[in-house]
């Protein structure tokens, strides 16, 4: 639309396209910067909540401006390049990392299916290949730092990201088969607003594909339980050990931006993108809100993983990828193909299967929430004092009131 407006005003088409590209790049980069900052604060607050502490709450209301303070601090820090480092590669690595993540934003949708910066017909393929740029950046940073811990981290990153690329890509295959296209907008349009129209609930194999994609993505974005590349208790800070100041900020930024990529891809490909119920369709921006909400839901799951699970060991992680995830990815792929062959002319079965999937998911979900709620309440009470928690546990019947016990004992004594 912008390009058309400009060409109608007499601007050459090539120039108009160039200006449009610059505009999109500008917007994406700024979005990444702001998002990464905000999500870093959100993550710290979520972590604090899980660990019964307060978290950053001083800068701005409820610590919401903490990320600005952090950014300013990092920019003002001394920019240190260690002796013996490969200066050129050392400087290049953070920006290659950021470029790898930023480039994925070109094919991410923003709500309505047509709101994509560049709706490539090989969108998913592009996404997968561009994400792999991160390996080169990590290796570069690791090698250039002239630090043995960094090098170890870099080698781990290379091994890990290369092995997890495959399950991630194959986890996306069922979705691609259902939509019949690699194009993001087609994938988004293959789904509807209702959960039973989403690809993730289309059939069990698509669900399996999503789980593989999510697990692999956690590994690719270097988050616990797969954060071996920067395992702070083992490798100090992995490939980022020698980085300080703004260069370090760029690494962190790329990492947090990665969570958005994972969330947005899941939302677009598996969770029905930005489709809204028909009665809400007239509302402006409804699609964007729905899409962003779905994305944040996935991001929250990633945070939950990170602050709950311990870390894998390198060999266990490789085993997990090659011995379990790859065969499962093949199961998802062939299962989807067979399911497709069996039911492609029977929409009735497909509808039944997807509805059953949604119901099963809701059942499991509420069971899970129910279990978690006990822990959450437990935790909420526990911070105040042991006494309040005992009162609470007596109320829900988990322990007997202490008075009754004493009475029973005194009776025995009599």
């Amino acid at each position: 639309m912008i390009i058309e407006t400009m060409t109608s005003l007499g601007v050459p088409e090539l120039l108009a396209k160039f200006v449009f590209a610059l505009l999109v790049a500008f917007l994406s980069i700024n979005f990444i910067a702001v998002y990464a900052g905000v999500i870093s604060v959100v993550e710290r607050r979520v972590a604090a909540k899980m660990q019964s502490r307060v978290g950053p709450n001083r800068v701005g209301p409820q610590g919401s401006l903490q990320w600005l303070a952090d950014g300013i601090k990092l920019i003002l820090k001394e920019d240190l390049i260690p002796d013996g480092a490969d200066r050129f590669l050392f400087k290049l690595a953070p920006f290659l990392m950021a470029a790898g993540v930023t480039a994925t934003f070109a094919v991410l949708p923003w709500g309505p299916s047509n709101a994509i910066a560049a709706d490539l017909n090989v969108g998913v393929l592009y996404l997968i290949s561009v994400t792999a740029l991160v390996v080169i950046a990590t290796l570069m940073a690791a090698w250039a730092s002239n630090n043995k811990w960094s090098l170890l981290g870099g080698m781990r990153a290379a091994a890990m990201i290369v092995s997890y690329e495959i399950p991630v890509a194959m986890g996306l295959l069922p979705a691609i088969m259902i939509a019949g296209s690699l194009q993001m907008s087609t994938l988004a349009d293959a789904q509807g607003w209702a959960p039973w129209d989403w690809i993730v609930f289309n059939n069990p194999f698509a669900m399996l594909g999503f789980l593989l994609f999510l697990t692999g993505s956690v590994a690719e974005s270097n988050r616990t339980p797969f954060d071996l590349t920067e395992a702070e208790s083992e490798l100090v800070a992995g490939y980022a050990t020698e980085y300080s100041g703004f260069r370090f900020a760029v690494f962190t930024l790329a990492e947090f931006a990665n969570t958005w990529v994972v969330g947005a891809v899941s939302a677009a490909i598996f969770f029905g993108a930005g489709h809204v119920p028909p009665m809400l369709a007239a509302l402006p921006g409804a699609a964007v809100v729905v899409f962003v909400a779905k994305t944040f839901f996935v991001v929250l799951i990633l945070m939950w993983f990170r602050w709950t699970l311990p870390r894998f060991r390198i060999d266990q992680m490789m085993d997990f990828s090659w011995k379990y995830m790859l065969p499962l990815a093949l199961v998802a792929f062939f299962g989807q193909a067979i399911y497709f062959l069996g039911t492609w002319d029977q929409p009735g079965i497909q509808i039944v299967v997807s509805h059953v999937m949604v119901l099963a998911f809701l059942g499991v979900f509420f069971l899970f929430i129910n279990r978690v709620a006990i822990n959450v309440k437990h935790q909420g009470v526990v911070v105040n004092s042991p006494q309040t928690e005992i009162a609470y546990l007596e109320k829900i019947g988990k322990i007997k009131p202490a008075v009754v016990e004493d009475a029973a004992e005194s009776e025995e004594e009599k």
Binding site: L152, D227, S233, L309, P310, F312, Q316
Partner: protein, 373 residues
Amino acid sequence: MGKQLRTELMTINMGPQHPSTHGVIRFIIKTDGEIVHECEPDVGYLHRSIEKIGEQMTWQGFVPFTDRVDYLAAMNANWAFCLGVEQMIGTEVPRRAEFLRVMVGELNRISSHLIAIGATAMDLGGFTPFIQLLREREYINDLLELACGARLTYNYMCIGGVHYDVPQNWNEKVAEFLTHFELAMEQMNRLISYNRIFINRMAKVGTVTREDAIGYNLVGPNLRGSGVQFDLRRNHPYSVYPELEFDVPYGQGREGEVGDSYDRYYVRLEEIRESIKIIRQCIKMIPEGDVKAKVKNSIKPPVGVFHSKTETPRGETGYLIESDGKTSAYRIKIRTGSFTAMSIIPKIAPGMFIADLIAVIGSLDVVAPELDR
């Protein structure tokens, strides 16, 4: 065919300032990437000459220094020294004081084990358990603060008993805490101890056989983790431990091998349960009375060499005290569990991953100040 790439081992310094060495310990590791080929612990970075200080201070004056030998279990560290001096001068400790000693000692044992468990979890990447266990430790610190006014280095025990009696409702507060704590511990086990990833990281890693454990003089939970059922509280009883009922947990190869890191970890978990049991019994049995025997201001023990040992959270802590009949010791030698635990590392390290080494250090519960003194 034929021509091979020339490879050499890479030497890495883990420490003295490394996130997972629990203070300042240095490991010189020879590795080919991920596999450790050789690991040599280099100790002494936190040496504070506490033994030498003991030769300058009066007998009572040295007690606060024993706090600093093992700051995570300061009560237990006091205890061994006080016990030694009491044996030398032949003082009878009042019964109430003995019970108070057992109670604060066991509370302190719980808090020390909480740190050990939490730090292990944190080394393996689980940050949440560590913080939540520290929260539980704060309650214990509150209780100990009620008893003696300090939260880390207590200086509560003195030669001849304990310094002060506890507040009146202290026992009820302890009982209340234990009820809460058992549930919290159950929650923590669900979060970390029974987590599959965690178990896979700990099981069959850093196995110390029974013979090695005895041969390298491991003590405490590390020894019991290797399947040796030996506890000073049971085998060389002191204080009122003979009257109390408790089990001595030992490694049974719960997840594969006897003496692996998970066994050592699990022994600590079970010891926490045993400590809870002991404290509950003490609450019922504790008598009224004095808390401090009458001890002269200037103690002049007879000439001779005395050895006292107690079971601290990190195993047997021994004080070898040589007296020349004056108001201070002629020589004091402190024997701690962390030091011998370090000596096993070069033996078990070759062939394991760097990440495993961290798990092993965590499961051996090495604390730098106790190591170097």
